[in-house]
Structures are given as C-alpha cells and as structure tokens.
C-alpha cells in the first residue's frame, strides 16, 4: 500500500532527474555547426592521449542522444551500430566474424552478452550489426568523403544524400563507431580535419545516433601529426561530451604500434588459422584484434550503463 502511494512520486522524481540531467547535458554541449577557420591549436596543448582511459564510460550527452533516439517515431535500433570510417573500418577483420560463430572470446567471456545483444538479425536478413553491409565506410574514405554524396552507394542512397545520412537512414542504428584520421592525416591540415570531423559528429548527433569515436593508429610516416590529430579527436570528444575509445594507447604495447609496416594504412592482423575475432595471446598481439577487443569492451560498457543487457536492472 505504502509502495503504491509512493510509486507515482518515485516515477516523477526519476523523470525529473532524467530531464534535469538531459537539460544539463544540452546546456553544456554547444551544437552550433562548425565554421571553417574556428580551429584553435592552442586548445590542444593540454591534451595528452596517455591520460585518457582506453575504454570510455557512457557520457551524459551520449545517454541523452540515445534517449532521443528511442523517442523517435521509429526508435533507433539499440541492437544495431554503424561502422563509419576508412578501410580499417570497412575491413573484414573489424568485428565481422563476431556476427557468426567464428569467434573466441578467450579470457574475455564476460563480453558474450554484448556479442549476443548485437547478434540480433538486421531486419529480415541473416546479417547483424557485426556483419551487415555499411554505407559509410570505404577504401580511401576520409571525413570529407563521409559527407560527400559522391561517395554514397547509388542503388541504396538517395540523390544528394551523404554516405553518413544514407547509413543512418538505412541502418537505423542507435550507435555509430566512428574512426577517421589515417587518410586525413596525410592530406588534410589540422583545421580541415577538425572542421570535417566536427561535421561528421554533429550530423551523427543530430540523427539521434550515439557517436563513439576512436583515436587513430599512428601513421609511421607522420607520428607528430598523428599525435595532433588524436588530440583533435579527443578535443572533439570532450567538446561534445562523447565516448572516445583510446585505440592509439591500446595499440601502444604492440609491435610497431599494431601497424603493418608493409602497408601503413592498416593494422596488423593474425595469420590464419588465427583470426582477429579470437582473443588468444598471439592474436592479441595484432592491431585488428586489439581494436575488436576494446570495441566490444566499450559496447559492453555502454549497454551495461544503459541497462540494456539481459539481467541488468
């Protein structure tokens, strides 16, 4: 009886708390579209990737974006994520094998619920978030490519639709795993990368999709610029209060920082019969496997904090 009388009050209090936290997040985060030329290099000086955890927590703004996605007429699908980025994101080594039974979590069996959660079939297909076709990643992709309708897949995307918008429309995913920089660092200067990445992030936020960023692997040809680009990524993550997977630090203990020195555009991967979806000791000494591990750990964290995993309350 007492419980029943206090229940409406409790619900109201919860709603109020959610509203307040949401409005605080909204107040803190400036969602004004970026202007080219606004980049301030001085704002990067205090950012050291080594100070940032590898696996991020769910931020208040990310929670707010997720909740907005759930309140849409057609809610964003929490079982789905979009893979946004260059060839390292389009790679078959990136998460794909987790979409089938061809994976081995090894000592990380606690990630199984997260893998199962994202194994939900995509629409009426046998594909799922891990292995479905994405429309916002490709060889040679840069931050500019993601926004340029030229790169949109003709049979799927609408006229004048950017690859990013096309992907979010077709996948209806609640989350987006976004990694850029490897191509950009060799072609764009810092202001241009900052400008385009902010646009990618803003378009994602405005689509009510939770952006999950990554710091980029070091390009051996440009280690100093790679550091600056990672500072930019971390600054954008902080400005928009978003989770950033600190991949560059996760790769740091690996031979050659997890980079294939014969092909510096890409991470190393295990040789068959090992796979980047097998968390064995040998496999975990390669770049793609580490990226897969920290990605699953992050997704598990987000799902846990959003109370989306079975058994969570």
């Amino acid at each position: 009886m007492l419980k029943q009388r206090f229940m409406p009050l409790f619900v109201a209090a919860c709603l109020l708390a959610i509203t307040v936290s949401a409005s605080v997040a909204q107040q803190v985060v400036d969602l004004t579209p970026p202007t080219f030329g606004d980049f301030d290099p001085a704002a990067l000086t205090d950012i050291d990737p080594a100070d940032v955890p590898i696996v991020p927590a769910l931020t208040p703004h990310a929670r707010l974006i997720f909740e907005r996605g759930q309140s849409r007429d057609v809610p964003r699908d929490p079982h789905m994520f979009s893979k946004v980025g260059d060839s390292m994101t389009a790679s078959p080594y990136f998460l794909v094998d987790f979409g089938t039974d061809a994976y081995d979590l090894g000592a990380y069996a606690d990630l199984e619920p997260a893998v199962a959660f994202f194994s939900t079939p995509f629409e009426d297909t046998i594909k799922n978030a891990f292995n479905r076709e994405n429309y916002a990643n490709a060889l040679g992709f840069s931050t500019a490519s993601a926004l340029d309708s030229t790169w949109a897949v003709a049979d799927v995307c609408e006229p004048n639709e950017s690859p990013l918008a096309c992907e979010y429309r077709t996948a209806n995913a609640a989350f987006a795993l976004i990694m850029f920089g490897t191509n950009d660092v060799m072609t764009f200067d810092e202001p241009l990368f900052d400008y385009f990445l902010r646009q990618v992030v803003l378009e994602t936020i405005n689509a009510d999709v939770v952006p999950v960023l990554y710091t980029m692997p070091i390009r051996p040809e440009a280690p100093q610029r790679s550091l600056i680009f990672n500072q930019i990524i971390l600054k954008i993550g902080a400005d928009y209060d978003l989770p950033v997977i600190n991949l560059v630090i996760a790769l740091d203990p690996l031979p050659n920082d997890g980079i294939d020195l014969d092909d510096t555009l890409h991470l190393t991967h295990p040789e068959a019969p090992e796979s980047a979806a097998s968390f064995t000791d040998d496999s975990l000494r390669t770049g793609y496997t580490i990226r897969n591990l920290v990605t699953l750990q992050t997704l598990d964290t987000l799902l846990t904090e959003l109370d989306l995993l079975p058994g969570e309350t």
Binding site: S87, G140, A144, P159, N160
Partner: protein, 355 residues
Amino acid sequence: MANHHPFARLFAGLFITVLMVTRALAQQTCEAPTADQLTALNEACSASAVDTVCTQTGVTTPLDQSTASTQPQVIRLGGDLTLTLVDSHMTALVTTDTPRAEPPIVDQDASAASGYTVTLERAQSPCADSQAGAFISADGTTTQRLTLNQVPVAITDGALFITLEESGVKFFALAGSTTLGSDDNPLTLAAGDVILWGDEPTIPDPLPLFPALDLMQALAIEPDECLVDPLVPCDALDDTNAIVTTVVNGAGLPPQQVIFNYLSARTVSDAAQMQALSCARWDSQAMLQSQSFRAMRAELLDVACYAVSQTETDAAVACDGVIQTDYNGVLREWQLPAYALTQEDGEWLVCGETR
C-alpha cells in the same frame, strides 16, 4: 605644298626599307612552326638514336656533345621518352643522375624520380617574349620518369606540352596520365588539365590556350580530350584545329564547359576553382567535394559533358565518362552525376547535382 630636300626623301625611303626588312626578318624568326614543318622534323628524326639530339635536317648529335640551339629539335631519351622543342626559343641541357652504364634511365622505382634531369631554358632571342614550348611524350604502358626543371615528372602512355614562364613551368596535359611532384605529395594530371608549377602548383586563371591540334598530330600525339564546345573526343571534331580553352572561372562559358572545369578542378583538389564555379548554395559542397578524393589520385577518364536542358537561367548537364581514383593501388571508377546550374550575372554556376 612643302618642298622636301632630296636627301630627306632618300633617307625616309631607306628608313622604311630597313624597317620592313627588319620586320620581315623578325617575323621569320618568330614565326611559329607549322604542322608541315613539325611533320618533316618528326620524319627526319623518327629513327634517331636514344640519347641524341636531332634537328630538322636529320643530323643527330650525342647528348653529351650537343650544344645549345635555337632550332627546333627532337631529343630522344631512353624509355621511349621524346622531347620536341617546337618553337626554337629554348635550349636544353640534359644530364643523367645515374651513370650511363647503369640504367635504368626509365625508373620504375616509385620511391623517387631519377634518371634524366632535363633543364630547359629560354633562349636569348628577339622572340624571347613568345611562348617557349616543348612537347614531351612517353610511349608504352610503363611509367616514364624524368626531372624537368627540378619538377619530378612521371608520364604513363601520354603526352604533355610545357611552357616556361617567369613564375615556373606550365604543364598542359594532353594524353595519358601524368604525375608531377614527389611521390609523397603527387599531383596527378589528366588530359585537359593545366598546372603552373611555381612556388606551389596552381591552375592558371585564365586558362591558356592549348597548342593547336594539327601540331600535336604532326608529332603523332593524339590528345585524349578536346576542350571545345561541346566537349567531345577529338576524333569526333570536324575542325581539328579547334582545341581552345578560354576559361576565366565560369564567365562566358557554356554550362557543359563549366562542369568539365569543375570536374577537372576536383581531380586536383582545387577548392578555390570549384568554389569559384559554384553558386552560393553549393559553395560548402564544392569545398567538401574538393577534398573528398584527396587521399587518392584522381583523373578524368573519357569525360565528355553535354547540356540536357537549358533555359535563360537554368541548365542541366550530364557527362559521359568517369572519375578514376587510385587508392593504394586499388582503382575505382566513379560515375558522374548530372549537374544543375544557374546563371548569375551572365555566368553559369554549379548549383546542385542529381542522379
């Protein structure tokens, strides 16, 4: 009526005669070569040996014994590279940066442009103000490399025309694929592109005239693109002398030429040119598009654009052909969308695209 002194008449007549003779001599000296002359030069030198300089009389001189000349000449280099100095106002100094006994003159090593180092200079002639030019052609599918006036040049089955300017070397891409600059920051040219390589590469504004088609054909050079209205393959032209470009952004250009220039600028990531060719609403998209192929080498392949509809204020342009990109050795062809243009102050501007 004035009564002139007889000597004054004689002096005036002499003066006029001298003027006419001087002018005639000057005209003869500065007269651009004709297609017939180049055909004769090409035939006379068709069998000239590698590492020689050949003149219109068919006389050849080994490179290391050649002297500066103001006469048209064919310089035959290894690897099927040929330089044809067409207007006699240039001297050439050719050296090799690898010992002659140790080819390759053609360097297939992508890490550096080595082999021939060619320095072209304007001759000190009365015609020094005229356009000093040379054709460079490379046969075969193997990429041929040389360093030209300190600019690394790699040509694949193609041809260039170059001119020497106060501010640098102007490259006119005629056929095939050409890459300028070092391999860590290459600039790829497709037929129809013009780049002034000075302190930094720029697209000349206005675009200069290409050499006449019959001059190229006299040297057995077949350009891939004809920059005429409408944009069509050269072999479809009735008037083979019609290769001209008169581009100042979009001013006075037909819509299809604007789109062709827009696409050409896109392949070299020239944001300023693309934005200059765009309406205000398309400005940010032009800037974006100028950057989105930048991680790759891009070129136009068989691109020909044509107006599908046109009113006084609006036009729609479609293009045949593709943009081809090369990313880490992976080639990809991009179909071209149709473009919408609007006319503002007499200028056709790109203002959207459709599929």
